[in-house]
Symmetry: C2
Subunit: 501 residues, 2 copies
């Protein structure tokens, strides 16, 4: 009987996630294929599927199946234990939020997105302030209902980074800040300056697409279990290890957008394709958190893709593919793609200053959640933060506090996962290097299988077996810290810019 | 209260069809985008959505909502009356089929499809016979459960052509046969022979795609509310008037495949895009039947697209687009695309002989349903029929009774709708011509709006208001007959081939 109780729970879990996979496909199609006028029907389709999924997760039937499986399940196996633990967490979380609050949040968010789009276009924060105010109220209410030990922000952060605590994240970020600010300043004063103009040379879209597909395949992206398309905002949509879809965008006057964008999404995709298909549709076959996901994308994009060894292999193919780059020197190329400069826009930020953008948002979000910061004071707080962290002042709210879509979607607590991704990536990469001291030689030969296999064995295959913090401890033997990332940045950027920060 | 009862029923109806629209997208994606290895998850997604839809349609909640709306609905409006009538019909039909029978049919069909694919590949009917036998048993049981007045086949035909009766269809087909056989024979003996070799001239895929898109747009296909892709088997997938997707396939050595395939699918798509969006997701905003749908595709593909007036406009653009056709003469082109010749394969058949292929299948299906024909005797019956109707004998079962996928999918009763489509098309087209005697002049100028507007006003806008037979009567003032189609064929092919059949 115990097996059948667990089997019943697992079946219900898979059905629930199958609805989620359909939602993902509807989203993917909307961004890549859907005719413009299909948008209204799509909203209805998405609402229907999301509603069905929510009903299943919060319904008595699921609770009963989960309860029986918990009492009689095969909790000796790691996968069963993972699935019971995680589905309990998700169900509790979902059941604490009344349908009316979920619906209201979706409605306000829909209005907020429109308001935000207009506010950004016209650079008028006051247009966005009222719906944001309302949305934050709903988020505060949600945090109270979900519950938290430390501060309200924890309840939101937990959605994206299960188990993470704001105070701990803040401590790591503080440690990181102490290193990033002087490093960025030292690079700014370095005599060596990248010739970034060469990144703007003309590269035809078709050639970019061809080159990006070659790189993606070389890194290990399986086109039999995935595809690559074009969308306004690049993303990776994985519904099972055998159907993982990435998108990119092409700017004929800025090759890095597609090139590093593709490697970033491939990093996400390799994680999704590396999950255990036998556990597909259950937490044992799902990614740990957004932060761990981001660690994979950042690793392939930056730690691998912006490294000199990587280009020692690919620079030949690159200059053959793009005639406009034929005369460029490898050193100049590597320096240009590693240009470090304080800038206004997060998504365009380099490896060194990126984290500072996140710290600003993390700080504002926490203060907004406790009410210490009022919505109307966001623009001022933003600009003060930019000055203090990056030494520059936004020329407008559009290029300042209105630049990101996240708040308008109600995604508060999401930003920290981007910076955590960098930290996880560095700590994992350091461990991988320790295990495989010849990693750079592999990259010089265009060989990525050793790194990928290591990631699969140590991270991908385990699904949600460990929380992020436990995974870091298990894989690297230490708790999360900013040190490996700081070491990585120093080891890379000091020789590159000829400095000693 | 009456309004709210109807509103509740309508809401449930829309939700049910919304699930259907999601199923359509999953199907479309599978044929056009899905990575090969995604197939297993897709089967699960499709089964889940189909199951949810079936549950909704047959559940007590829907029956209650429908019952209340029937007693208190606004049946004075045509749309409400249509929706109540049609949903009652669909619900009754679905409720008569036990879930176990539906599931068993899906399972056997899945096996039958695999068996059919192999049987066709190896041209061994005996591999397909056992699952077909089982499938036909299930179909006979379904027919008994659904019920019928005339013969069991009526119950199956009714799924695709609501309200049609086998005996009536047979009578019209007999009338048609009397004209087709001598006309085909006369053309075969005509001294004028098309130079079909010119259809095999090289036309690059990209140029074909560009030309097909131009033609599609000119006919009225709205790319803001639709898109065009490539798939193995061309189809049209319409989930609402604002999201209608067609596919085609390119053969660089046979332009007509993409060219007329596109016009065919555009015909389907114009119907879908012409349905009333205000009634989307309810029968008042849906197509009448497969036969009426096919009348639209055949009309645009053949009645318009293979006509001389059409090419008087498009022949210039065609010869400019494809250098291999630069020296061809308009008359030779028009004759070549209207090549008539008895052939083995239905989907490659011309306008004159196409109906004979259908009559063969219709006759076999009826006899299989009553048990007068045994499965093991299908090959012999097929070959006999081909000889008697078309004067040729298949060289193999692969090119004979194994050529079509329909039976392996359990789609018995589907074939007649193809031939009915031709008959409806001719009768509608004759009425359109009577209303607009200058239609050919419009075509000569590349103007299709008059015909499209006429179709929208007389057919598309009415959704399922009328059954097919009623619609024909309403639009043309007469019941369905083979005469208009025969008149159309004679008027077109006799002068083309210089004969008097």
């Amino acid at each position: 009987m115990t097996t059948s109780h667990y089997a019943e729970f697992e079946r219900a879990t898979r059905q629930y996630h199958l609805l989620g996979s359909i939602e993902s496909l509807l989203d993917w199609d909307q961004e890549t294929c859907m005719p413009p006028r299909g948008v209204e029907q799509r909203a209805e389709q998405l609402a229907l599927v999301a509603g069905l999924a929510h009903e299943r997760l919060t319904g008595d039937e699921f609770a009963t199946a989960l309860g029986k499986a918990e009492r009689n399940g095969r909790v000796d196996e790691w996968a069963s234990a993972t699935n019971l633990r995680e589905m309990r967490r998700r169900m509790e979380r979902a059941r604490r939020l009344p349908t009316e609050l979920v619906r209201e949040t979706a409605k306000v968010s829909s209005l907020a997105k429109q308001a935000w789009a207009r506010a950004r276009r016209e650079s008028r924060f006051e247009l966005f302030a009222p719906p944001l105010e309302r949305l934050l109220e709903l988020k505060r209410r949600a945090a109270e209902l979900i519950g938290f030990e430390g501060e309200p922000y924890d309840a939101l952060l937990d959605e994206y980074e299960p188990g993470a605590r704001s105070a701990e994240v803040a401590a790591v970020f503080d440690e990181l800040k102490k290193a990033l600010v002087p490093l960025a300043a030292a690079i700014a004063k370095a005599p060596r300056k990248p010739d970034v103009a060469l990144l703007s040379r003309y590269c035809p879209k078709e050639s970019q697409a061809e080159f990006c597909r070659r790189v993606a395949a070389a890194l290990g992206f399986d086109f039999q279990s995935g595809r690559m398309d074009v969308s306004m905002h690049p993303f990776c949509s994985g519904t099972c290890p055998h159907d993982v879809r990435i998108t990119t965008r092409y700017d004929e006057r800025f090759l890095p957008a597609a090139l590093f964008g593709t490697m970033h999404e491939v990093g996400h995709a390799l994680y999704e394709q590396g999950l255990d298909a036998a556990h597909a549709g259950t937490p044992a076959g799902q990614s740990v958190s957004l932060g761990i996901h981001e660690s994979q994308s950042r690793m392939w994009e930056n730690f691998v893709g912006r490294s000199r060894p990587f280009w020692e292999h690919w620079f030949g193919p690159l200059t053959q593919q793009f005639t406009s780059l034929a005369e460029v020197r490898l050193d100049d190329w590597v320096l240009a793609i590693n240009n470090v400069r304080p800038s206004l826009i997060r998504v365009e930020a380099d490896e060194v200053t990126y984290g500072l953008h996140i710290m600003l948002r993390f700080d504002l979000e926490r203060r907004l959640m406790t009410g210490k910061l009022a919505v109307r004071d966001i623009p001022q707080a933003w600009n003060d933060g930019m000055r203090s962290l990056l030494g520059i002042t936004p020329d407008s709210d559009a290029n300042g506090c209105l630049q990101d879509i996240h708040w308008s979607m109600g995604a508060v607590g999401y930003f920290p996962t981007y910076a955590l991704g960098n930290l996880y990536a560095a700590q994992f990469f350091e461990a991988a290097r320790a295990a495989m001291p010849d990693l750079d030689d592999h990259f010089r030969r265009g060989s990525y299988a050793p790194l990928l296999e290591w990631l699969r064995r140590n991270i991908h295959r385990h699904g949600m077996r460990h929380r992020a913090a436990e995974l870091v401890q298990a894989v690297t033997g230490r708790p999360l810290s900013a040190e490996p990332f700081v070491r990585y940045l120093r080891a890379k950027f000091e020789p590159l810019y000829g400095i000693n920060a």
